[in-house]
Symmetry: C2
Subunit: 168 residues, 2 copies
């Protein structure tokens, strides 16, 4: 099914009942027993690993959480470029997105009262295709308004945390 | 190296020169040629895939970007529990963190003026260990103040996007 078909099918489904646009995602993250920082992630039928490099106490079997956060952003940009190019009818042959993020470790370790998260994130988008520069600028504007993970980075998201089980 | 050693080593290094706490991460995300939504991610020596399920135009070879964002949050919680348990001297034998996120697809598709990102995120933490409930509540407070990806979800992060290359 082409992205244009997906867009039109979703438009019809959500117009018929707005509740069809309400979706939920769930992810389970478990410490690998006997390790300091290795985490097994399960998402639907998919599995992947998270770890820390040696200077942060891990064995570097996989990327770390903040790198996965940047990958979520970069891959979301790539896919949102694909969808909005299809929606706007702008031909696009290749998309590459590099994401760089700065972080001050004082925050994570509690050594100073600085924020533990990223202090600055830079997104560099490389596009290839036959459309003119003005069309790609228009595409970029729409992508940056509609990219779910860019929204997550730019704006506060309501979160709640619960300690569900304590084995004392 | 134990997490306690990592914490003490980082404390000394950042006390000697605060600039030692400034770290940067970089992630490259490239559309797999010939696919609609498959993305190859490169982070240091690590590689992984991102894709969409069929209803969102993909071939479901991997989790999608918003699931990776939830995994970044959940795995960051797991690892921050490990570090802060070590820092506070609270024994902790197992950590599992489930993250659920709701999203309204009207935003991504531009069918309505709703935010494209998560509208609500719920984090459920399961801990096992011999400490008492009050200690684990104290641990949770410190984790929620110092978890880098929870900070990313809760607060705005400065971002900039650049179109670096246009092949017209």
């Amino acid at each position: 099914m082409s992205l244009t078909d997906v867009i039109e099918g979703t438009r019809q489904a959500t117009a018929a009942d707005p509740a069809n646009a309400q979706v939920s995602f769930s992810v389970a993250n478990t410490l690998v027993p006997g390790t300091a920082t290795a985490v097994e992630v399960r998402v639907r039928d998919h599995r992947f690993a998270v770890d820390e490099p040696a200077p942060l106490g891990g064995t570097d079997t996989a990327a770390n959480p903040v790198e996965y956060a940047l990958a979520a952003l970069g891959s979301c940009q790539v896919i949102t470029y694909q969808f909005w190019a299809a929606k706007l009818g702008i031909p696009l042959e290749q998309v590459k997105v590099t994401v760089d993020g700065d972080l001050d470790l004082h925050g994570f370790f509690g050594f100073a009262d600085t924020r533990p998260g990223f202090t600055d994130v830079r997104i560099t988008v490389e596009l290839a295709g036959p459309a003119d520069a003005a069309d790609y600028e228009k595409l970029k504007q729409q992508v940056d308004e509609h990219c779910p993970v860019l929204d997550l980075f730019r704006n506060p998201t309501p979160t709640s945390t619960t300690l569900a089980q304590l084995t004392g």
